[in-house]
């Protein structure tokens, strides 16, 4: 029964938009919030909700949590297509049942898995009252739109303080690790195993660069002193400590045990996760490759373990089930999924900010099947108008490990062309967005059978590219 005018508005808006072939992932919620401002609070009541926020890894982590809980017998409702503002969250709460991931067999219940934009989180967390809130990390991300990182951190702290959620927090990120201060009993930390991180740093050092990447948050905001790092994973993530106030990377409950002798950029990379509360360690295989996905997988295992415990399982059972389920995760469309195009593989890696660009380049430079790389850069409002962030990334030290065949498109193709050439690489072909599919097809032609063309668009470039791929290769619509 429809009890709110907002709900009715959302349902009708969605039906109309779907009839004309639109995804309708945000407009219905927008209409609903306008008519019933308290709609998120009303619709959240009595529901099991997990939120995921942070600048990088939100979508992948949400996807992993959804797949894992679904595998374990829960019906899942989520906003996986990235509609992560208040309007998208409201749409999912109201209309999400239409597209529920149903459990195999008898359902154990319904869980909402909601990716939430960092700024939106401050506004809606209190209304959503999630039971579990994952905070992945904070890297610079379209600062012209979102403002300073410390401000974003404070927004998340505000939101978190309005809930009773168990916060699942990355202990290696100094900005988010401090969110645990004052709510220790409601915070669960996860991160790389500190001993393993140090060992890997010593055995497999990064290539030297002529100029390090522009780092975020390497000073203690309270003491204005540079953090000392015992070890690092990437960016500003690592085992940090302020020599003045002593604030340091907290000891994690969930830790990744890993050895970089093999590369996490290849499928089924072997690693393990330990739960230091139950004392269990489980061997695992990385189902979505990339070193950053060690963090995302650990975050997802942490969130699922905590959620299952809340639903009545013992710590041991919960962790066993979470790690087992993590072995059944598959990549989502357009997020590292390998699409078969005439015997060749095409893999889209959405790149929105320097940290994501850095990780994706690192991934491709280590991927054994990489035969080509295509970069697409736009500068529409949703991308951030400023393209200068491409210079914040250390491409210089990765250049010699990247594929030789590089292709460039997007409205700001000229900027990307120069960026690549300044890193000492040659570009095979480049041109504006009107030539994107022509260049992509040329890149596919040059890709040998069985090998993969990696494509890195930013947000609006990805939307155009997906639409073109759907049209040209008959791929499924992405909101499904």
């Amino acid at each position: 029964m429809i009890t709110f005018p907002g709900t009715a508005a959302a349902v009708v808006t969605r039906k109309i938009l779907r009839l004309v072939g639109k995804g309708a992932t945000t407009l219905p919620g927008k209409a609903a919030i306008r008519l019933s401002p308290s709609i998120i609070r009303e619709k959240s009541r009595g529901k099991h909700i997990i939120t995921i926020t942070g600048t990088n890894g939100k979508t992948t982590t949400s996807h992993m949590i959804s797949e894992m809980l679904n595998y374990l017998g829960y019906d899942i409702i989520n906003n996986i297509s990235g509609a992560n503002l208040a309007s998208g969250v409201a749409t999912t709460l109201i209309c999400g049942k239409d597209e529920m991931m149903r459990a195999n067999g008898r359902s154990k219940g319904t869980i909402y898995v909601l990716e939430t934009d960092e700024a939106a989180y401050a506004k809606i967390a209190g209304d959503l009252c999630p039971e579990v809130s994952v905070i992945t990390n904070l890297f610079r991300d379209q600062l012209d739109r979102y403002g300073e990182l410390t401000h974003t951190r404070d927004c998340i702290a505000d939101g978190l303080n309005k809930t009773d959620a168990i916060a699942i927090v990355n202990s290696d990120d100094s900005l988010v690790a401090s969110l645990g201060k004052g709510r220790e009993d409601k915070t669960v930390f996860y991160g790389m195993g500190k001993k393993d991180m140090l060992r890997n740093n010593k055995l497999y050092p990064d290539r030297k660069s002529i100029l390090p990447a522009s780092p975020d948050a390497v000073y203690c905001p309270d003491c204005h002193i540079r953090y000392e790092y015992v070890s690092r994973s990437f960016g500003h993530l690592g085992d940090f400590k302020c020599p003045s106030c002593g604030f340091s990377s907290p000891i994690s409950r969930f830790e990744v045990r890993y050895d970089l002798k093999q590369s996490p950029s290849n499928e089924d990379y072997p690693f393990a996760i330990s739960d230091n509360l139950s004392g269990l360690t489980r061997e695992m295989k990385l189902k979505i490759p990339g070193s950053h996905n060690l963090y995302n997988t650990c975050a997802a295992v942490s969130a699922v373990t905590v959620m299952l415990t809340k639903l009545g399982l013992s710590q041991e059972e919960a962790f066993e089930q979470a790690t087992e389920a993590a072995g059944h995760v598959k990549a989502a469309f357009g997020r590292m999924e390998k699409i078969d195009v005439g015997g060749k593989k095409l893999c889209i890696l959405l790149v929105k900010n320097p940290a994501g660009f850095d990780r994706s380049l690192s991934f491709v430079s280590e991927a054994e099947d990489a035969a080509g790389l295509m970069l697409l850069l736009n500068s529409n409002i949703a991308d951030g108008k400023d393209v200068s962030w491409i210079w914040d990334v250390d491409l210089e030290s990765k250049a010699e490990d990247l594929p030789e065949n590089i292709f460039i498109s997007g409205e700001r193709w000229g900027d990307m062309l120069l960026r690549i050439e300044y890193a000492g690489m040659n570009v095979t072909e480049s041109g504006d967005m009107s030539r994107a599919m022509e260049i992509l097809n040329r890149a596919l032609e040059m890709t040998p059978e069985g090998k993969c063309l990696y494509v890195m668009p930013n947000y609006t470039a990805m939307l155009s590219l997906r639409a073109a791929l759907v049209h040209e290769y008959g791929l499924k619509e992405f909101w499904k």
Binding site: L211, S214, V387, S388, D392, G414, Y422
Partner: protein, 255 residues
């Protein structure tokens, strides 16, 4: 030939002032010098690091987030300040972008009316406003040989900078807002110190500026007779032309 020639780029506070592609400016100087056979090195000078002016040929100071500028401003103004002033007066080459530009001036007036003392090396001041100028930009620049070029950039600042008698504007605004959105000028020049609000990054797409800075730095180190060898800039020109075309088709208007 430039064999045997050396050049040192001093990168100020790279761990704090590193917004919006500031790093690209250092890369551009490095690339266009090393392609000419000059032995270039990049030296990082951050909080509490010693500054030896005799070791630096080109100084680069970028911009940071407010919280990061709070961490280093005292080190810049009070600790390294006197040496930086001497370097500027001595004719060392400086490129200062956005926050780095503002911090070399006389003061920064906050929204609250509070005055934040800056280095006072150059004759201008900045006032905060609530609305930000965030847009692509095109400027016109007159080079050392008298020719005029179009410069493509991007501005993102809420501060309005007003130049005094002691400095000259760096460029004229064709598209965008520039120093204050009122007088049509962008940036400031004093001796060999060049200041601008432009990100983009500024130098990669505008090799005429890169070469002007390199030429002045080399002349300062090796004497006025030093001539920078010619260098291909077809990729840079292609990238600038594409950016200018994109911007000129866009909505941004001159003030």
């Amino acid at each position: 030939m430039s064999d045997g020639y050396k050049l040192v780029i001093g990168h100020f506070y790279p761990d704090l002032l590193n917004l919006y592609g500031d790093r690209g400016n250092v890369l551009a100087l490095y690339r266009r010098a090393s392609l000419r056979g000059i032995d270039v090195s990049i030296r990082s000078i951050s909080v509490a690091d010693e500054l030896d002016p005799s070791m630096i040929d080109i100084a680069f100071i970028g911009g940071g987030q407010d919280s990061e500028q709070n961490i280093m401003s005292d080190d810049l103004v009070r600790v390294k300040g006197p040496l930086i002033k001497d370097m500027i007066e001595d004719g060392k080459v400086f490129l200062c972008i956005c926050g780095g530009y503002q911090m070399l001036g006389k003061y920064y007036k906050e929204h609250t009316g509070d005055i934040v003392e800056c280095l006072g090396a150059l004759d201008y001041y900045t006032e905060a406003r609530s609305d930000r100028f965030i847009n692509d930009t095109i400027y016109s620049l007159v080079l050392d040989d008298g020719s005029e070029v179009k410069v493509a950039g991007f501005e993102n600042h809420s501060g309005r900078t007003y130049l005094g008698e002691g400095v000259k504007p760096f460029m004229k605004v064709l598209t965008g807002h520039g120093n204050n959105g009122e007088d049509g000028f962008e940036g400031a020049v004093y001796k060999n110190t060049f200041c601008s609000y432009s990100h983009g990054s500024l130098l990669p797409k505008n090799p005429a500026i890169t070469d002007m800075l390199l030429s002045r730095a080399m002349k300062k180190r090796y004497g006025e007779s030093f001539e920078l060898a010619p260098l291909d800039s077809s990729t840079e020109d292609k990238a600038r032309a594409a950016a200018l075309e994109y911007i000129e088709k866009g909505k941004e208007k001159a003030p």
